[in-house]
Amino acid sequence: MSDMKEIYLDNSATTRVFPAVADLMTRVMLETYGNPSSMHHKGVEAEKLLRNAKEIFSGILKCDMKNIYFTSGGTESDNIAIIGAATAAKRRGMHLITTQIEHPAVINTMKHLESEGYTVTYLPVDSYGMVKLDKLEAAITPETTLVSIMHVNNEIGSMQKIAEIGELIKRCNPETLFHVDAVQGFGKATIIPKKMNIDLMSVSSHKIHGPKGMGMLYVGDKVRINPIVFGGGQQNGLRSGTENMPGIAGMAKAADTLCSKLKEDADKLYELKERLIKGALKLDGVQINGVEFSDDLKAKLKEKNDSGTIELDATSEQELKAAIAKTAPHIVSISFPGIRAEVMLHTLENDGIYVSAGSACSTHKPEPSATLKAIGLDKSLLDCTLRFSMSVFTTEEEIDKTVAVLADKLPMLQKYTRR
């Protein structure tokens, strides 16, 4: 397998670090290794780096540097945001709202708060993984202190209308804070917290070609939030602990690289996504999750000509593009009826193609994915669904090769299924 070119389509699990990021981090570790709190020159140098990283993020998010906090990752950002905001507003109310398709870092933090006496509403989603706005509106009460909704779902790539949701929340209860888990969406779609009424936002570094063990939390201007770890009072006392300078510099560099040509990359990813979807739909019985096709389009996508390719007229082509554009550009969830995801995954692996069954964060648990259940996926497909997630490194050739391998292996696997 070593001489085979690897095709890495598991970028929602983690990404390859940009070489320039790795170089920068090496230099920070070997040269600019000071503690930003130190008073001497080494400290000042490090503080400059820290400031520079904050500038990069405040530039991307169009906010002030003081809104930027660095953490150990998406999970910690989610924990600080949710626990910190919920406890700070405890006297005003103890009601929180989230969705059924959140990442475990949010769901399990909410569960923890439930055990501490908070009430949590878990909003349902439609069959494409979109939050039902009327349900959200009905759920917000005067006691609701925080709503936490993810930007892009990590398993099916559904992308919430964050701006609309933000506006709705503030209209129902201006005091309610809005937290967005943007771990999957950051660097893929533009997100401006102030414009979208976002008060708190979590970002992870290793999903954007930065190092692991690094995250960012945006905290809006007037947001009251309690720390959850205590120590030397770094970062305004919200996140004590000597700043992880190599990580911070690396993550900022990665974010800068990615966001400077975000639009261009996203367009390219959407094209690849369309290519993969069309390629997969050519195969018998295959189903795409999280993309809203009209019945008409669905029927057309199933019609194949003699050579087994799909030909769409211009309107349908437009419709397909529009449907895909409503979702995240990099995640495609595909169900292969009758074939266990793990088997398909290892089959692809034999050809050097790396994908994920459900989400990598939950594959070591035997329970089926909560997200797939929430979108009402047929029971028989829960264990037959793979996630393909692309990055800026992904090429057309790689997608074509993947589709070719699927086409090649599918008949054999469909033959040997559990009877």
């Binding site: 793990e342 088997v343 398909m344 995954l345 290892h346 089959t347 692996e349 034999n350 070591h364 035997p366 040997y416 559990r418 009877r419």
Partner: protein, 449 residues
């Protein structure tokens, strides 16, 4: 017990002792196994074999618990006694030394009520001693007779809480001035005088104080249980069919306990089973290798054979036919490496392929004996052993093995040998080549070195 008192251990073994002229073989094997086990413990250890006794001595700093844990993984050991070694001294000094030993070893337990030092301090405080002098007394002299008698009457003694003990002196060195009977009495009396909480009970003692007078004098009173069994290497060689489940590691452990050297075979079925399933099996082999010594784990690629069976044979017989090929392959590997039989974790009726009728079907394909140590065990009993030997947590990781991936909803439970043979014949054209490929691609992983 004060662990830091000890740097010598007496190793007790049982069954070897009753072997005849070849007894030295068993003892040498045990010494070799102990040596191997101790190489994994930090520190320098020396082993000395004397007639009927094996002594282990630490020549450097070491961790008591780590050393005991290593010894508790050596089959053949029934007991590990931490001993204090004394030079030969006169009987009076000996009685004094034994008293010192007991004081250091059990402290407050011997003070009359089975109370701890902390409780003793509390009681003393209640009886008018100030806190400082109470704890001073405990730390320095409370166990010494004089000071203790001063304190003692203030504590209501519950006779039921005394420790019943017995002296057990052995005098191998016949020139020693007093014989064992006299020494039992003298030392026992010295202990009774020193500790009000002791009481002699020769029939049901809680503590036996052993004094062995040999080239030196050895004192001990605790026997830490060993795993029992026979030293690995003295009982032949078996090939274990190791899956990722709960049973097969236990089966390997149990047979190895009778002195059998173990090698193992695992049937891998990529892409239906994952790299992690294989890793799990390697982990399981590593866990049992702590008892069995190093294991050669054969990894056989079984996918092709399994697919052929799936395609050509009735689906409800898939598992049985698959098991038959596993047995054949295992037997082939056993013969190649000189193993004298197969070992499986089968237990009657546990699953369809382990009913009596199914076992008859899988058994007939090999001529080597198949040892099934768990054959009459209930699942719960097997689980308990796997928890004891530490394989359970690994066994229950949720990775599929090749036995479960294609399993039929209703597999046969009463297969007939004739029918199975007839259906198996469908594979005749292809199976020889497939077996050949399987043997050629056999990968051996050495674990537990």
């Amino acid at each position: 017990m004060k662990k830091e008192m000890f740097c010598d251990f007496l190793i007790k073994y049982a069954e070897i002792g009753i072997k005849g002229k070849n007894r030295y073989l068993f003892e040498d094997a045990l010494v070799a196994r102990i040596k191997h086990a101790m190489t994994k413990v930090d520190g320098e250890f020396s082993i000395r074999k004397t007639p009927g006794r094996i002594f282990l001595r630490s020549e450097s700093e070491f961790d008591f618990d780590e050393a005991i844990d290593a010894l508790q993984h050596v089959f053949g050991i029934v007991g590990i006694c931490p001993i204090v070694r004394l030079d030969i001294v006169d009987p009076e000094t000996l009685a004094q030394k034994v008293t010192d030993y007991m004081r250091e070893m059990y402290g407050a337990e011997l003070c009359g009520t089975g109370i701890t030092a902390q409780q003793a301090v509390e009681i003393m405080k209640e009886n008018g001693f100030d806190a400082d002098s109470a704890s001073d007394a405990i730390s320095d002299e409370v166990y010494g007779k004089l000071r203790w008698q001063e304190i003692y009457p203030s504590i209501k003694r519950n006779p039921a809480e005394t420790i019943r003990f017995k002296m057990m002196v052995r005098r191998e060195r016949k020139g020693y001035p007093k014989d064992s009977m006299v020494l039992n009495e003298d030392i026992g009396e010295a202990l009774l005088n020193a500790f009000p909480g002791l009481k002699v009970d020769v029939h049901h003692p809680e503590k036996i104080v052993y004094v062995e007078i040999r080239d030196s004098i050895y004192l001990y009173s605790e026997i830490i249980p060993g795993p029992g069994g026979m030293p690995v290497g003295t009982g032949g060689h078996g090939m274990l069919l190791l899956s990722g489940g709960i049973d097969s590691p236990v089966a390997g452990y149990m047979v190895s306990k009778r002195g059998v050297t173990i090698d193992a075979v695992y049937f891998n079925a990529p892409p239906y089973t994952s790299e992690r399933a294989l890793q799990k099996v390697v982990d399981l082999a590593t866990i049992i290798s702590k008892y069995t010594g190093p294991i050669n784990l054969h990894v056989i690629n079984f996918t092709e054979i399994q697919m052929a069976i799936y395609e050509k044979c009735p689906h409800d017989e898939l598992t049985i036919i698959m098991r038959r090929y596993m047995m054949r392959i295992a037997e082939h590997l056993a013969e190649e490496c000189g193993a004298q039989g197969l070992i499986t974790g089968e237990s009657i009726g546990q699953v369809a392929s382990q009913t009596f009728a199914s076992l008859v079907c899988t058994n007939e394909v090999c001529t080597l004996p198949v040892i099934r140590p768990l054959i009459a065990f209930d699942k719960q009993d097997i689980v308990e052993i796997s928890q004891k030997i530490g394989s359970y947590e690994t066994s229950i990781q949720p990775y599929e093995d090749c036995c479960t991936i294609f399993v039929a909803k209703h597999p046969v439970t009463k297969p007939s040998r004739t029918v199975i043979r007839r259906h198996e014949a469908h594979l005749d054209d292809v199976i020889e080549d497939m077996l050949k490929t399987a043997y050629e691609t056999d990968t051996v992983i050495r674990v537990g070195e």
